[in-house]
């Protein structure tokens, strides 16, 4: 029996009568992580992994009816045994393992296989059916090790500083920003952040993630000489806006997996593109799928057709799930 099916409201578990990351309001919503396209407001009950509670509350409001479960803990609901397992995507992100009458399904939400220090690393879970994303589901997407990318970012910042230019690094406010903060060499200069980034930093710090000191960019006067030494982190919505004018002469960069392609970087119109994603690359997707031992794979948002065809040719029972994920964070830069 199918433990998860696609319904107009979202991915639904029929025996358990609940939804996973629904895109329309429902009674019971199991949330894999706090990105806007996976956790929407208006649901009556929320269940998420314990480390994600802070994020969810800060994004959806303190008042939501939220229940949490530690990674690995089990919850029985209508005979379905549910547990969360780290997805390595952002703080609190989880794969949802469902077991019912000996059948095991895992819905992985969004995931990344390289550990980054800001969230629990991805943990392969054995299952019969694995639901996987396919954001970067083409073999052109292979990530360089993150140490290489952080060295590039540090070098870019240092070079700008030497030239008396501010360094504006555009990236998603939740997850990417904190991962970069964690990996940066904070001794290079002061780090300033946009108002959209700081509240999330606070949640990460409260969860025990050691982030370097950050200052609110709005507190600095336009001509403050400090700006010319600083690295400024801003969300994509601030890129190229009048908010940026205050930094005088600056170099800008965008950090995303899409920066792997020259065309997408040029379309962004930034000086530099850093290839850093919180999603699995092509080898990562294939590795994760193989680790689950699943014979059946349901593919959601991204290069669905490509991954389905490729897995089928590898002898797996692969199918597509139509979802409405990928509307936020960096899953929707281009749809390959």
């Amino acid at each position: 029996m199918d433990l998860v099916i696609a319904r107009p409201e979202g991915l639904y578990c029929p025996p358990g009568d609940f939804y996973i990351d629904p895109w329309r309001p429902v009674d019971r919503a199991v949330i894999t992580h706090g990105h806007g396209d996976h956790s929407r407001s208006g649901n009556n009950h929320y269940l998420t992994a314990a480390p994600g509670a802070g994020i969810l509350r800060s994004r959806l409001g303190q008042h939501i009816n939220l229940q949490t479960l530690p990674y690995g803990g089990r919850l029985e609901h209508h005979g379905v045994s549910l547990s969360f397992h780290p997805a390595g995507h952002v703080l609190g992100s989880a794969q949802v393992r469902l077991e019912y009458q000996g059948e095991v399904w895992v819905a992985s939400g969004d995931y990344k296989v390289e550990p980054d220090g800001t969230c629990a690393p991805f943990e392969p879970v054995r299952c019969h059916t694995f639901i996987t994303e396919s954001t970067f589901g083409l073999p052109i997407y292979r990530w360089p090790p993150q140490a290489v990318i952080f060295a590039e970012i540090n070098q870019w910042w240092r070079a700008n500083r030497e030239q008396g230019k501010a360094s504006v690094l555009v990236c998603y406010a939740f997850g990417k920003a904190q991962r970069i903060l964690y990996g940066l060499d904070a001794s290079i200069g002061p780090i300033l952040v946009h108002g959209a980034v700081e509240p999330l930093n606070r949640v990460y710090r409260e969860a025990g993630v050691a982030l370097p000191e950050t200052h609110y960019a709005g507190d600095f006067a336009r001509n403050d000489p400090l700006l010319r030494e600083a690295l400024i982190m801003a969300p994509p919505s601030a890129g190229g806006s009048s908010w940026m004018k205050r930094f005088g002469e600056y170099s800008d960069a965008f950090a995303s997996g899409w920066m792997r392609l020259r065309g997408t970087r040029r379309r962004r119109g930034v000086d530099r593109g850093f290839v850093l994603s919180d999603h699995a690359d092509w080898p990562g997707l294939l590795w994760a799928i193989a680790q689950t031992g699943a014979e059946r794979v349901m593919v959601t948002h991204g290069s669905v057709n490509v991954l389905v065809r490729y897995l089928s040719e590898q002898g797996l029972d692969a199918r597509a799930f139509v979802t409405e994920y990928g509307e936020e964070d960096d899953t929707r830069e281009v749809q390959p």
């Binding site: 083409l138 073999p139 052109i140 292979r142 792997r260 392609l261 020259r262 065309g263 997408t264 040029r266 379309r267 119109g269 000086d271 530099r272 290069s303 490509v306 065809r309 490729y310 040719e313 281009v334 749809q335 390959p336």
Partner: protein, 552 residues
């Protein structure tokens, strides 16, 4: 190769001209002359002929990456550039070759041309394995001839001039012909570019033309011309011909014909070879090569559409019939050198007067003098411009009477304006879309447009495709169209999607001609999107009759 790859990365990573200049200067100050010679060549737009067939590159890349064909194809469609796709799919290399650009080009890449397939298959993987990813992409771009980076020839010229402490115009002069296929970059040719000024510079130039002076587009309403340009009497007006801009150089008993792209095209135009014997040595004419109707009387419109010239250019050999059907002339409009003297720093009117004397003194059938138009006012000229389409020209050229002959698109030595007539335009329906290349990679940005085959109300009328266009939309609009294409896809054939017709665009184009190659029977020139007609339903798009009316 590595140093050049780093330069590429720096140039590609900025939009600031100053940052690019700095990067270029730093590169050239450190590069050995043999590498610099090739770097100038590629940066200034030089492209050797394709070294390896594309098909072979694909096969080899598929083999080495271990991917199924279809997945390679999907990847290519997302990346939009073959060289980049291959560089992203090949296994990472642990090596990084220290050999320089020249060594790579001369020892490894150029020798690939003409090798039997088996030999290329054996050599390429070994070469590729020596390169880090960035160098690999560059190497592949050089092989496929798709090397492009946002640097103009003018910028390279400026960087070299700054480095060698020379006048940029001098370097520009020396650069002419540098990227022509007949020239092979060498340390000597590079050192010549940056050598100190010498007294015999002028006599050493052989068949070299001068850098072309280019016009800017004039798009203001006529009423503003007095304010913008001053009195009409300060200007020389001519027809703007729609042909091939060319310089005819006669020196040392020999004739050279150069196109605007600084390619030597002497062989392509045998009709003009008679000028070798008629023109005196030390003469350089600037003008337009046009197909001229054989035996045209003075009442006929003698100039033929660009399409005919294009057909001629497409042919490998120029047969008797073709030369008889589509003979060319040179409409001369400027004199750059006379009696061995560089005339470029004399004012336009003086050059013109001398040009008229030269054409009168050395008459030759294919040499014509591009006529001047006279008008008392801008309004008067505007009225004459209205005849452009009937006369087979693109509009008017306005040249400041005291303009010197500048270099490229400079404005400081005098001005030339092209005052083109408005393009033809029709409202057409988007029916197919394909993903683009470069900045448009992964976006459905290349479209096929159709008009109706019968007037509104005709039962069963259909849309017939007649033009492809990919320019004219803003990034924002393109993103929106991309989303609509994805939502309204009916069928996918390889990289092309057919869509439910919902989008109407005003398409502009410069020329229109009958064509057997197109379903609609019509071919248009330079089609582009002028605007998105959000206000127009598909039923109200134009039909074939509108296009046919434009043909006359």
């Amino acid at each position: 190769m590595k140093a050049f790859a780093e330069l590429y990365l720096r140039l590609d990573g900025t939009t600031s001209s100053n940052a690019k200049l700095l990067a270029l200067r730093e590169y050239f100050s450190q590069a050995p002359a043999q590498d610099a010679a090739w770097a100038v060549y590629f940066l200034a737009g030089g492209r050797p002929r394709q070294l390896v067939p594309t098909r072979l590159l694909r096969e080899l890349a598929i083999e080495l990456s271990g991917l199924p064909d279809w997945l390679f194809e999907e990847s290519y469609q997302s990346v939009g550039d073959l060289a980049e796709t291959i560089s992203l799919l090949l296994p990472d290399s642990a090596h990084a070759s220290d050999q320089g650009l020249a060594e790579w080009i001369e020892q490894h890449l150029l020798p690939l041309r003409g090798q039997p397939q088996e030999e290329v298959r054996a050599r390429l993987p070994v070469l590729w394995a020596q390169l880090d990813r960035q160098s690999l992409m560059l190497c592949l771009k050089l092989i496929t001839g798709s090397f492009r980076v946002g640097v103009s020839k003018l910028l390279v010229t400026r960087a070299l001039a700054q480095l060698a402490d020379l006048d940029a115009k001098r370097v520009a002069q020396r650069m002419v012909g540098y990227t022509d296929l007949s020239h092979k970059p060498s340390p000597a040719s590079y050192l010549k570019l940056i050598a100190a000024e010498s007294a015999d510079e002028h006599s050493q130039r052989g068949g070299q033309p001068y850098p072309f002076f280019l016009a800017h587009a004039l798009q203001a309403p006529t009423e503003q011309f007095d304010a913008l340009l001053g009195p009409v009497s300060d200007w020389q007006a001519e027809w703007k011909w729609d042909g091939i801009r060319a310089q005819v150089v006669k020196r040392e008993g020999q004739l050279w014909i150069w196109s605007r792209g600084e390619e030597l095209v002497t062989d392509r135009f045998p009709e003009l070879h008679s000028l070798a014997s008629s023109l005196p040595d030390g003469t350089v004419l600037d003008g337009e090569i046009l197909v001229w109707k054989p035996g045209a009387s003075s009442e006929d419109v003698a100039v033929q559409p660009f399409a005919l010239l294009q057909q001629r250019l497409g042919r490998k050999t120029l047969g008797k019939k073709l030369l008889g059907d589509a003979p060319v002339v040179l409409q001369a409009y400027d004199l750059l050198e006379w009696q061995d003297h560089d005339w470029r720093s004399r004012p336009q009117h003086e050059r013109r007067a001398q040009l008229e004397r030269v054409v009168a003194e050395y008459p030759q059938a294919p040499l014509l003098l591009s006529p001047l138009l006279t008008g008392d006012s801008w309004a008067d000229l505007a009225e004459q411009r209205e005849q452009s389409r009937n006369l087979g020209v693109e509009g008017l050229m306005l040249k400041q009477r005291d303009a010197l002959y500048g270099v490229g698109r400079t404005k400081d030595m005098g001005q030339w304006w092209k005052w083109k007539i408005d393009p033809f335009s029709v409202d057409a329906v988007l029916i197919y879309a394909q993903r683009g290349h470069g900045r448009r990679a992964s976006l459905y940005s290349d479209y096929t447009f159709a008009v109706w085959d019968a007037p509104a109300g005709t039962p069963g009328r259909a849309l017939v495709p007649f033009a492809k266009a990919y320019s004219g939309l803003s990034d924002e609009e393109m993103r929106k169209v991309d989303a609509i294409v994805r939502k309204t896809t009916v069928e996918t054939f390889g990289p092309v999607r057919s869509v439910t017709p919902t989008l109407v665009f005003e398409l502009g184009f410069e020329g229109i001609a009958l064509s057997k190659r197109h379903k609609s029977g019509i071919a248009v020139r330079f089609p582009r999107m002028l605007r998105w007609r959000l206000d127009k339903p598909v039923e109200e798009a134009d039909d074939l009759a509108t296009l046919q009316a434009l043909l006359s």
